[in-house]
């Protein structure tokens, strides 16, 4: 099992309460382990609630197994925790719709997200899953910037999207791969929906 420490950035020690200096251990679905400061964890609502509920002491953190994050691989989780460490202590934006949301991508984030599209989408997925509001904002902004001004054909190339014909063909192939009974039931279900009926009765 490899251990990857998320980079520790210089911080104002006086600004961080002593009890916040605990480092939690997390494990990705491909068994990569990370140590993350409690302050950095606060950027993730999901993880923050999780560690609060666990109520670990400093000894527990060292002695108990790393907290498993089943849905995220090590490569993605490394980026997530690098981001959280860099932005630890920063206020978490609240989007209540009262003011227009203007998102700017800081230099650190831009470098962090200088990755292939597949990994970028995994990062967005992870930010959504772990509820890291600002990471979700900047990563979505990055994708939006990439999409801005592109024609449908260019978008298909950039995001490997199927055309309508390919979409249909894939759907047909998936249907054909199903067992006949399931297909029959699904077709009847779709037909009922098309006819506007809510019930078979």
């Amino acid at each position: 099992m490899s251990v990857e420490n998320a980079p520790v950035v210089d911080v104002d020690e006086a600004a961080i309460p002593v009890e916040k200096k605990m480092y939690y251990r997390f494990e990705s679905n491909d068994k990569k382990e990370f140590r993350v400061s409690e302050l950095a964890i606060q950027q993730s609502e999901t993880l923050n609630r999780l560690v609060e509920a666990m109520g670990y002491t400093s000894e527990d953190v060292e002695n108990k197994p790393a907290i498993a994050i089943e849905n995220i691989d090590g490569k993605t989780l490394k980026l997530v925790f690098q981001w959280c460490e860099h932005h630890k202590g920063e206020a978490i934006p609240v989007d209540d719709g009262s003011v227009p949301k203007i998102v700017e991508i800081p230099e650190f984030d831009a470098k962090l997200m200088d990755i292939d599209n597949g990994l970028l989408f995994k990062l967005i997925w992870a930010a959504d899953y772990l509820n890291i509001v600002q990471l979700l904002n900047v990563s979505c902004k990055k994708v939006a910037n990439m999409a801005q001004g592109k024609t449908p054909a260019q978008l298909r190339r950039v995001y490997l999207l199927p055309s309508d014909e390919e979409d249909e063909a894939a759907k047909r192939a998936a249907q054909e791969a199903q067992d006949p009974r399931a297909r029959e039931v699904e077709e009847e279900f779709e037909e009922r929906k098309r006819q506007g009926g809510n019930s078979f009765f």
């Binding site: 949301k101 997925w125 979505c140 999409a147 995001y159 078979f200």
Partner: protein, 265 residues
């Protein structure tokens, strides 16, 4: 348990089994623009301009289903009819998009009809402005065809949600083709340019009083009339009572000049 519930359970179970069978590998491969969580996808769409959202919708069926109509972003529609072409301007809060169609092709109506239902599909906020403006040199005697076309569109659709209405019109029937289909709760301002086509039919009379009984007229706060042609006799010496409710009024007739109030911001 009803059959629908049984079917739901069946499909749910089937999906669960499929996930288990295919494992995490496939799940990872599926992550892309078409499979992002809806919250994230909406974040991305919300950061795009009108045209880019249109382009996203044009890529494939999956994204068309996922992407909300961008037309809620349209704040005003301006139709400019000139002698050689018709330009339909779609304004959003930050940009304007124009669809210019040469008069010879004569197809802008069908294009707009196609977009109309998209623009007003489930729309809840009113347009800031809807206008039909004729170029002065427009020389087609069939100038009212636009209004006849709109009457056909609007009579079978929900009320037009708009705050400010501006129409270049030849008579009250042109105006009625639009005005009577506006949502009276939202309409605040009516502006009319009332002399188009005067060179084709000098005897034509504009019966403004045909508008007075409309809810849209009664509820509007501003009325402005420009460049009037001949009005019906009762309008030349009008009873001003039908205008009494307007907070802003401008009717530049030679016999009666009435300007009062201030426009809303």
């Amino acid at each position: 348990m009803g059959l629908i519930d049984m079917l739901d359970a069946y499909f749910l179970k089937k999906m669960e089994n499929k996930d288990k069978e295919n494992g995490e590998k496939e799940k990872e491969e599926r992550i892309g623009l078409t499979t992002l969580p809806m919250l994230a996808f909406k974040e991305i769409i919300g950061k795009l301009d009108f045209q880019s959202v249109q382009n996203i919708r044009a890529t494939c069926k999956t994204l068309r289903k996922r992407t909300p109509y961008p037309h809620e972003k349209i704040t005003s529609i301006q139709i400019n009819i000139k002698s050689d072409c018709t330009a339909v301007f779609l304004h959003t809060s930050d940009k304007s998009y124009v669809m210019t169609v040469p008069q010879s092709e004569n197809c802008w109506e069908s294009l707009l009809l196609f977009d109309w239902d998209l623009i007003f599909h489930k729309r809840t906020t009113p347009l800031r402005k809807f206008s039909i403006w004729y170029n002065r040199y427009y020389d087609d005697p069939q100038f009212s065809f636009v209004y006849k076309f709109f009457r056909l569109i609007l009579k079978s659709r929900p009320p037009l949600l708009v705050k400010n209405l501006f129409l270049s019109a030849s008579d009250q029937d042109d105006v009625l083709s639009i005005l009577q289909f506006c949502d009276s709760k939202h309409l605040k301002s009516i502006k009319l340019d009332g002399d188009i086509g005067a060179n084709f039919d000098e005897d034509k009379v504009f019966h403004l009083n045909k508008l007075y009984d409309l809810e849209q007229w009664k509820n509007a706060e501003e009325f402005e009339l420009w460049d009037v042609r001949d009005f019906a006799e009762n309008d030349l010496n009008p009873d001003l009572a039908p205008f009494a409710h307007f907070l802003y009024l401008s009717i530049p007739w030679s016999e009666v000049q009435e300007d009062r109030g201030r426009r809303r911001g």
